[in-house]
Symmetry: C2
Subunit: 429 residues, 2 copies
């Protein structure tokens, strides 16, 4: 790992840069896929699935038998783990539901907001080597709490036309049964436009490869909302002299195993800790099945030393990491200094894996510096907040003059008139 | 206005369609403007301002003298109106601030969220014939409540290099003093990339013409967040036999005066009311300075009759209007039927103008059917919600097994190891 000692502020901008991922070259091919699905529906889906996933599908939808069968294929251990995780995720996300009070802004002028679940949402769960059933929990549970009426799940199947059994079990466990064996850009297109089989949705959630990401970016310009822009996963760990180097190394490696575009940053006040962590990494790395991948990631990664913890956190705010681990004593005292981060882990025993799976917080988080301007997924992501207002006669009389004056100053006379005509009627009553 | 009686459900899709606005042709020219500003900063801004706004600017920023002078140029009446509106907007938006509680999802596993203001935000206020100082109130007040540290305002100046005095007065009243005399796509570019004069921001808010809209759409794909996708303004009014036709006509006209792409829809259970409203429109129209504009809008607009109020609201949900007026008695009884709408106005005296200016609700709302998947602007729009978690030793022991099992099932062994290494140390303690 590249190691830098006490970089001056003017060098930070260079240090916090993520690798630029150019995806313009995909515009044309992904637009073609989107258009084909829009025009030819299921037929196009079948063609692309045959082409990219090398499987001929008759039914695009997972049937009830497949869904039920999943329960027999999943170990008791995994079932129990899912139960623990789902219970915590539910508890935390349930706490995000607020009934907002009615505010009387002026006598007779009552205003309030009401959260209403987005009626139809689409969840995308990637396939590939690792079936991300944890992401299904992270998306479906807040969608259900939000009251989304229709939840559509797309996930690719293998060459035998089967969807991973743990993903199916998790779906069944949560009561999600509208599941399609569709992956890639064609899955995003199916949910964005709707096909004969796949219901159209208003917002699409979930991670994916560059094709999925590009498809989400494109449908967003066509009126479909998406969870957030995508980017490679990342962690920034802050530690001092007292921190356990083995824990730090394990957390850095857990990020590094995601893929070679993952970002791993270690920031510390201790030169000695840099040495210890390097040593621990080398030791732990040997045991990992994905060690080659992790090694490559570490080669692109960064260790930075600063004189004080305050500077460490200032650097982290400039970087705006998806995950921030404050592996320091009394980490809670530093919470108010954190301005830009997706999810923050406090103390030696709050490893990122906890939030990735089972503590209850959401793991769908802003990356690539987007923690400066986006929040992670929560129940908020699945609702619209509609404002309501009710004015009594007296209420309109109280603020009517202000409205008339402002409308006239903006040269919107019909806006003014909508008030004047009512005030006139009231004055005649 | 086109009038349709009791259309069957299968015809709704056609009726709720908005006119498609093709903006692909702008991609190239707006990208060019963005790139020039990115490369040449203030110099490019000055060139475009000279070209499009026909004014040669030396200082791009509004100076303290201009800001102070605005107070002398604005009438006492307008000042008082701004005070009333700002007070109500503050009161309502202040109520959107919650301190969320810490949730112990499992013994020793504490999770919470904290709202942190987006550090730097940019507000765009269009110029043109009507200076939209009301929009400045609607954007700046929630930004200030959210705790955004830097609020940058861009608004075009006239050919004499002056920004509208009411916009400046409103800014000064709120304590906003970083104001640039820049309009159009170049303003969006300046805030997205930063220039020598204009600070770079992380999220851009505000309405604008098709160039501004396209620029916002393009910078959004480059990492800058935006408030929401844009579209023409619209109102849908639901009324019955008892409603006052003059009020309905006035509200329809207040939407129609916005511009010929505005959408105006009247939905009712009463054939007689359709006649009365048409009559009232014809009468009121004659008094309006923008009557030609309003007439054209009305020609593209729609009146629909249904047998029941429930059907009227179902149709409104399918349309998903930016503004929905329930001009009926006991409107509050129908609130739970409303699923898709930006802002809802209940009863005869809650005219849209109230929410546009002074009741306290925000007037920056999802249009073009986006009320299905987006919320209006609120304090939420100006914050990121960061999740925090702190696990005690016991907490990690309680959920550690679940994390290990799930990580292993997802083939992420380093994720598992980050827990195992900690559990092992604890078992040796």
């Amino acid at each position: 790992m590249k190691t830098i000692y006490q970089p001056p502020f003017q060098e930070w901008e260079q240090l916090i840069k993520r690798p630029t991922i150019k995806t313009e070259s995909l515009n044309e091919s992904i637009s073609m896929i989107l258009n084909q699905v829009k025009l030819r529906g299921d037929e196009a889906i079948r063609s692309f699935t045959s082409l990219f996933d090398e499987v001929q599908l008759t039914d695009l939808q997972v049937n009830q038998e497949e869904l039920k069968a999943s329960s027999k294929l999943v170990s008791q251990e995994i079932k129990q783990a899912i139960e623990v995780a789902a219970s915590n995720i539910k508890k935390f996300h349930q706490s995000q539901v607020h009934t907002e009070e009615v505010i009387e802004t002026t006598d007779g002028v009552n205003c309030w907001r009401k959260s209403v679940g987005i009626e139809r949402v689409g969840l995308y769960i990637p396939g590939g080597t690792a079936p991300l059933f944890s992401t299904l929990l992270m998306l479906a549970i807040p969608a259900q709490i939000a009251g989304c009426k229709q939840i559509v799940l797309c996930t690719p199947c293998n060459k035998q036309g089967k969807v991973n059994e743990v993903v199916l079990y998790a779906a069944q466990y949560l009561g999600i049964d509208t599941i399609f064996k569709i992956g890639g850009a064609q899955a995003i297109a199916a949910m964005a436009y709707g096909t004969e089989s796949v219901p159209q949705v208003y917002k699409i959630f979930g991670p994916g490869n560059q094709y999925v990401t590009k498809a989400k970016e494109l449908v967003q310009t066509q009126g479909v909302a998406i969870d957030m822009p995508a980017g490679p996963s990342e962690v920034l760990i802050i530690a001092d002299e007292q921190s356990d180097a083995e824990f730090i190394a394990a957390d850095l490696l857990s990020q590094a195993e995601h893929g070679i575009d993952s970002q791993v940053v270690f920031v510390t006040t201790s030169t000695k800790k840099i040495e210890e962590v390097n040593e621990a990494i080398n030791k732990q790395l040997e045991e990992l099945p994905r060690k080659e991948l992790a090694k490559q990631t570490l080669n692109n990664s960064l260790m930075v030393e600063f004189a004080t913890l305050k500077e460490c956190i200032a650097f982290s705010n400039a970087y705006a990491p998806e995950h921030l681990i404050l592996n320091i004593d009394h980490a809670e005292q530093y919470v108010d200094l954190v301005v830009n981060a997706g999810s923050v882990f406090l103390g030696a025993y709050s490893c990122e894996s906890a939030g990735d799976y089972a503590s209850g917080t959401n793991h769908t988080l802003p990356t690539n510096g987007y923690a400066k301007n986006y929040s992670g997924v929560s129940v908020d992501s699945f609702v619209k907040k509609i404002t309501f207002q009710q004015l009594t006669k007296q209420g309109l009389q109280n603020i009517g003059k202000a409205i008339e004056v402002m409308a006239e100053a903006e040269q919107l006379i019909a806006h003014k008139n909508a008030v004047s005509i009512r005030l006139k009627k009231l004055s005649n009553e």
